[in-house]
Symmetry: C2
Subunit: 324 residues, 2 copies
């Protein structure tokens, strides 16, 4: 089980390999929110999302003999790219299993980061069977996207940075908002802050219609989303909270905050204008919560922007719909 | 005259007030450039450009009695916003003299950062006379945009960060590319690196048609631009190098690199896709030089992105013209 010692050990392994992202702010955002808003832009992380932290943490902790055989992951998105680059920088091979109808750019990027991409037909083939066969044949180690203590520990290193940056900025109390899919990122951050900034309260943030974590925290048991497709916030859509992450979130997190897709797009546009960072809609749900759902929050908010891998078309949509 | 001691003193005054911007990179950009490319994104600085460093440096160094009377600046762009916010955070008033036909958004932003904006008619009024009268009446101190040792010292603090970040990244030789208008930023960085990373060579970068610094360095005397308008790279267009900055650049800089406006737009698009930062065209000329003019450079390049205050229309143009 991930604890603060595991997160600090992960930080030691990540040192010099993972970017220490800054803490940004803008008086214009403070005015909109009616409170102080700080932003932790993990879109500036290697591969454009926080996923690189967890991937590096898990791969770097493997026994070298096992690691040398390579790793495998299932993902069509940010986790794929994080694992691919972390593997390449360790000098090992990676296999990423992706649906054949994944966007071309994501397949190309994952390959460019050094992975062998294995495509499967969602309708006809069993992804897990393909993965199991490849793993067995080649001795590959599976790197799970969130329900894995070493991955959670890696994501938690962002929480250590938040605690230190908040202290330096003189922040002694804050709501910390984190975009949440399976819950690995918010869990890691919550464990880090439990130890390093216990007065901070962490809230998972989700888009409407995909609010499984918020509903699960409210009901006290794991709830599923009805759908997994059709959201511009695709980067953070998962079927349900993880078996490992849900108890962590239940113990440490405040209630979830749910934002509309339009609010997420508005936050994307404001991050462009006021912070000069590129955020994907799913990565902007916490900033949207800070800006437009402040009535549930205190006078200081730290919003994590989890990723920036957004197509130009979607980005244009945000700028068009929410001009300055 | 600005020296390393002045830059280090400026850093002490700036500490806790100015953002320490990260050093970014992407294997995709390395591939395009055919060499290692690192990017220092000063677009993430307060007010969206490096100008805040120089403004803070100059204002913080004023005698408190004099400072309390307020400051004045002439600018329609990034310097205006930097001075306005630095003054506000010092608890003093600022007057910014702007042409009445400046873009509405720049006037609004400068006001929002706390400045009193005084508009003048470019055709009928004498900007300097207005400034002189206001300064005299109210005892305001003029904060010049680049030809001022304390401003150059503030800009040089970015050079100290570059030296430290390069050392941490194991870079022992590099060409350092800096977008250049009047030359304050490149001069400050060059003085810092002369002391802290003497094997690095600094190059001013400019857009075609506005290459006064490049021509001045080549001829050995101050050369003017024929025009001062009509560039998408407006943020870094000035009539000629400064009287203080030109001798510094002559002594410390390698030759200038001139890029086309299209190359700058291409760099804006690539910074969006590969770095997740928003850069204005003028702020992207150094990145464009790194990507498209590598034949004049060594195997490691550090490109400074100087600002990100770009209108959505111009940003869309870059994404449209240079899709992934």
């Amino acid at each position: 089980m991930t604890d603060i010692a595991m997160i600090e050990a992960a930080r030691a392994r990540l040192h010099g390999h993972v970017r220490h992202t800054p803490l940004l702010s803008s008086p214009f955002l403070d005015d909109i929110a009616g409170r102080r808003v700080f932003v932790k832009p993990e879109c500036l992380q290697h591969t454009g999302s926080f996923k690189f932290r967890g991937a590096w943490s898990a791969i770097s902790a493997l026994d070298p003999g096992l690691r040398g055989k390579g790793v495998i992951a299932f993902s069509s998105g940010n986790h794929a790219q994080g694992v691919a680059l972390a593997a390449k920088l360790h000098g090992i091979s990676s296999v990423i299993i992706m649906p054949s109808d994944a966007p071309r750019i994501k397949i190309d990027n994952t390959r460019a980061y050094g992975a062998e991409v294995v495509l499967y037909d969602r309708a006809k083939e069993d992804r897990d069977a393909i993965g199991a066969r490849l793993s067995q044949d080649r001795g590959l180690t599976l790197i799970k996207p969130f329900d894995e203590p070493l991955v959670i520990a890696g994501q938690g290193t962002a929480g250590l940075e938040i605690a230190e940056q908040a202290k330096e900025a003189g922040i002694d109390q804050a709501d910390v908002l984190v975009p949440t899919g399976g819950g690995g990122f918010v869990s890691g951050i919550a464990i880090a802050l439990e130890s390093k900034a216990p007065s901070f309260l962490v809230h998972p943030c989700e888009p409407e219609g995909f609010d499984d974590v918020t509903r699960s925290l409210a009901s006290g048991k794991i709830e599923r989303n009805d759908s997994q497709a059709g959201s511009l916030c695709d980067a953070i859509v998962t079927p349900q909270p993880g078996n490992i992450t849900f108890p962590i979130m239940s113990r440490l997190c405040g209630k979830g905050v749910v934002v509309s897709e339009d609010e997420a797009l508005h936050a994307v546009s404001l991050a462009f204008t006021r912070l000069k960072v590129v955020v994907e809609p799913g990565g902007a749900v916490a900033l949207a919560a800070a800006l437009f759902h402040g009535q549930e929050l205190g006078d200081t908010v730290i919003a994590v922007c989890s990723g920036g891998n957004v197509d130009a078309d979607v980005f244009r949509l945000a700028l068009d719909r929410y001009p300055l």
